[in-house]
C-alpha cells in the first residue's frame, strides 16, 4: 500500500499571465512504514507538495493514488483521505482553539464521526504518545509553554489515527531541548507504531540522523530521491540550491582533500568518528 504521484503539476493562477509553476512533473512513491525526509529551500514547492498529499490542494494535472485508487476519482472521500494522511502544519500550535487541551485534541476524531467514548479514547492515546500527562488535560492550551503547545497540536492530528504522518518543520522556533523531544517522539511513532512519516526539515543534521530516504525539491521539481548518503554525496549541487550537507560530511571531504584517507559518505557524528578511528587505527598498525 502506498501513495503514488504521477506527473503531478500545480500552477498558480492558471490561465493568467501571472501563471507560475509551483510543482513541475513530480513522480514519486511512498511505501508503508517509510521514514522520509523532504528538504528544499523556502519556496521550493515542498509545502505545496505536502498539501497535495492529503488533498488540500488539487493538482492542475497528473494523478495521485492512495492505496491504489486515484484521489481525484469521483466518489473518493477527501475527508477520509485527510484522516488517513495526517498533516501537521508549521507552527501547529497557532491552530489550537478549544477551552482545554483535551477537548482540542478531540476535535479531529469528533469530525471523523466517532462516538464519544472512542473519541476520548483516541485523544488520551494521542496525548500519551506525545508525552502530555493527565494533569494537563483541563488546562487552557494557551497557558502551556511553546514546546508543550506544539506537542498538543501534534496530538490533535495523531488522534485521528493517520496511517501517514506529515510534519512540516515540526521543530521550527524551538530550543534544542524541545527539538530533541519532538523528534524523539516522532521516531518512536515510526518505530513502535510503524507509522509512515514524512519529515519536512531545514536541519540536514536531523534528516541525516533519522530518515531512510530523502526527497529534495528545487523550483517545484523533485531533483533527488534517494538514500541520505547518496543525496548528500551531491553536496555541491545541494549548495547551489541553497541547501547543504551535514557538517560532518564537509569534515570528511576536507580531511580527504588534506590527504587523510577516509571514506567521505559519512553523514552522522558516529559514522565520522568510526571512519576517522578506523584510518588512524590502520596507521598505528603500520
Amino acid at each position: 500500500m502506498a501513495i503514488i504521484l504521477e506527473h503531478v503539476e500545480y500552477k498558480y493562477s492558471e490561465g493568467t499571465p501571472m501563471e507560475t509553476d509551483a510543482l513541475h512533473d513530480v513522480n514519486l512513491e511512498i511505501q508503508d512504514g517509510e521514514f522520509i525526509g523532504l528538504i528544499g529551500h523556502t519556496g521550493s514547492g515542498k509545502s505545496t507538495l505536502i498539501q497535495h498529499l492529503n488533498g488540500l490542494m488539487r493538482a492542475t494535472s497528473g494523478d495521485i493514488r492512495y492505496n491504489g485508487s486515484s484521489i481525484y476519482a469521483e466518489g473518493f472521500s477527501m475527508k477520509e483521505l485527510r484522516s488517513k494522511v495526517g498533516l501537521v502544519f508549521q507552527y501547529p500550535e497557532h491552530q489550537l482553539f478549544e477551552v482545554d487541551v483535551f477537548t482540542d485534541v478531540c476535535f479531529g476524531p469528533k469530525n471523523q464521526g466517532l462516538s464519544k467514548e472512542e473519541t476520548e479514547e483516541r485523544a488520551k492515546e494521542a496525548l500519551s504518545l506525545v508525552g502530555i500527562g493527565e494533569s494537563y488535560y483541563k488546562k487552557s492550551p494557551f497557558e502551556l509553554s511553546g514546546g508543550e503547545k506544539r506537542r498538543v497540536a501534534i496530538a490533535g492530528v495523531l488522534a485521528m489515527k493517520p496511517e501517514v504522518l506529515i510534519l512540516d518543520e515540526p521543530t521550527a522556533g524551538l530550543d534544542p531541548k524541545g527539538r530533541d523531544e519532538i523528534l524523539g517522539q516522532v521516531v518512536r511513532l515510526h518505530r513502535e507504531q510503524g507509522m509512515t512519516v514524512i519529515l519536512v526539515s531545514h536541519s540536514m543534521e536531523d534528516v541525516a540522523k533519522y530518515v531512510d530516504r530523502i526527497m529534495v525539491m528545487n523550483h517545484g521539481e523533485l531533483v533527488f530521491n534517494d538514500m541520505p548518503k547518496a543525496v548528500f554525496a551531491h553536496y555541491k549541487e545541494l549548495e547551489q540550491m541553497g541547501l547543504a550537507a551535514p557538517q560532518v560530511t564537509y569534515i570528511a571531504h576536507a580531511l580527504k582533500d588534506a590527504g587523510f584517507p577516509m571514506k567521505t559518505d559519512v553523514i552522522t557524528v558516529e559514522e565520522a568518528e568510526e571512519a576517522i578511528l578506523c584510518t588512524l587505527g590502520k596507521e598505528r598498525e603500520k
Binding site: 530550543d175 531545514h202 557538517q247 576536507a254
Partner: protein
C-alpha cells in the same frame, strides 16, 4: 563601567488570576551581575524559560528589575527620566520578523525610530539611506515588507534599530523563525555591524554555530548565569553544555568524542579548518 552593567538583578514574573490576585510568583532572573564593554560581541545561550529573554528586555527598559539595578550607558533604568535615553542607547530586535515591522514600506519602517525621537526630516533620510546600505537592503527600500523573505525582514528590522544610532543592539533570538539561509544573512549582518561600526552586540540564540565568533558567551539556566567565557572555553565543556540541554556544533562534538577515545586533540575545536589541522597533526 561598561555599556551595560547589572548588579544583583532579580526579576519576578507575577502571574495573576482574573481578579488580579497574585496566583504565582516565579523568579525569571535571579541575582544576575554582569558587565558588558563597549564594542563587545556577547552571545547569550540557554533553553526556553532560562530567563535570557527576560534579561534582554531589561537592557531596553521594557522590563524593570524587581530587585537590583541595571545601568545602560551608565543610566539606571529605574529612573523614569532615563527611559528614552536608554532605548536610544540599546536598540532591540525581536524574534518574529512580522511582528516588529510597523510601516507598509521598507524605508518608512526604517524611518519610524528616528521619527519618534524627533530627528529632522533631512537627517532621517540620510540615516535611512545609510542603514539600509549597512544591512544590504537598499535595493528593496520601496518594497512592501510582506514580500520579503524572513531573513530580509529581519535585516530591515535591524536597519530600523540602527537608524536610531544606538551604541548597543540586543537581538532576542532573531533567527529562531528563519531558514538556514536567512540565519546566515542575519548573522553576517550583525557581525559586520559589530566589526565595522563597533556596535556592541548582545545576541540571544539557540544555535551554537552562530556564536562561535562571539567575544564572550554567557550560558543561562533557571534564571542564573551558569557559564561564562570565550567560545573556546565554553565549547570545551561539552558535558556541561549537554547538562543544560544545549547542543554543540557537530565538529566540536566529533572532536570531543575522538578525544574521549584517546585521539590527541585540543579540547575546543569550533571550525572544520581547526579540526582538519588537528587530525592531520596526529596523522603525520
Amino acid at each position: 563601567m561598561g555599556i551595560i552593567k547589572t548588579k544583583n538583578l532579580v526579576y519576578n514574573y507575577i502571574k495573576r488570576d482574573e481578579e488580579e490576585k497574585i496566583e504565582e510568583v516565579s523568579e525569571a532572573v535571579k541575582n544576575v551581575s554582569l558587565d558588558i564593554k563597549e564594542g563587545e560581541f556577547v552571545a547569550v545561550l540557554g533553553h526556553n524559560g532560562s530567563g535570557k529573554s527576560t534579561l534582554a528586555k531589561h537592557m531596553n527598559a521594557l522590563l524593570l528589575p524587581t530587585e537590583g539595578t541595571i545601568w545602560i550607558g551608565g543610566k539606571d533604568s529605574l529612573e523614569e527620566d532615563n527611559l528614552w535615553d536608554i532605548r536610544q542607547t540599546a536598540g532591540m530586535v525581536f524574534q518574529n520578523p512580522d511582528n516588529q515591522i510597523i510601516a507598509s514600506v521598507v524605508e518608512e519602517d526604517v524611518g519610524f525610530g528616528p521619527e519618534n525621537i524627533g530627528v529632522p526630516t533631512d537627517e532621517i533620510w540620510k540615516r535611512v539611506d545609510e542603514c539600509l546600505k549597512a544591512v544590504g537592503m537598499s535595493a528593496y527600500r520601496t518594497h512592501s515588507p510582506n514580500r520579503l523573505s524572513g531573513g530580509q525582514k529581519q535585516r530591515v528590522a535591524i536597519a530600523g534599530v540602527m537608524a536610531m544610532e544606538p551604541k548597543c543592539i540586543v537581538l532576542d533570538e532573531p533567527t529562531a523563525m528563519l531558514d538556514p539561509n536567512g540565519r546566515r544573512e542575519v548573522i553576517r549582518t550583525v557581525m559586520e555591524l559589530n566589526e565595522k561600526k563597533g556596535i556592541t552586540v548582545i545576541l540571544i540564540t539557540h544555535y551554537m554555530e552562530e556564536v562561535i565568533h562571539a567575544d564572550r558567551i554567557i550560558v543561562m539556566d533557571e534564571g542564573e548565569i551558569v557559564m561564562e567565557g570565550a567560545p573556546e572555553e565554553i565549547f570545551s565543556r561539552v558535558e556541561e553544555l549537554k547538562k543544560y540541554r544545549l547542543d554543540v556544533p557537530q565538529v566540536t562534538e566529533l572532536a570531543y568524542e575522538l578525544r574521549k577515545k584517546g585521539v590527541p586533540m585540543r579540547p575546543c575545536i569550533l571550525t572544520v579548518e581547526e579540526f582538519v589541522t588537528e587530525i592531520m597533526d596526529t596523522y603525520r
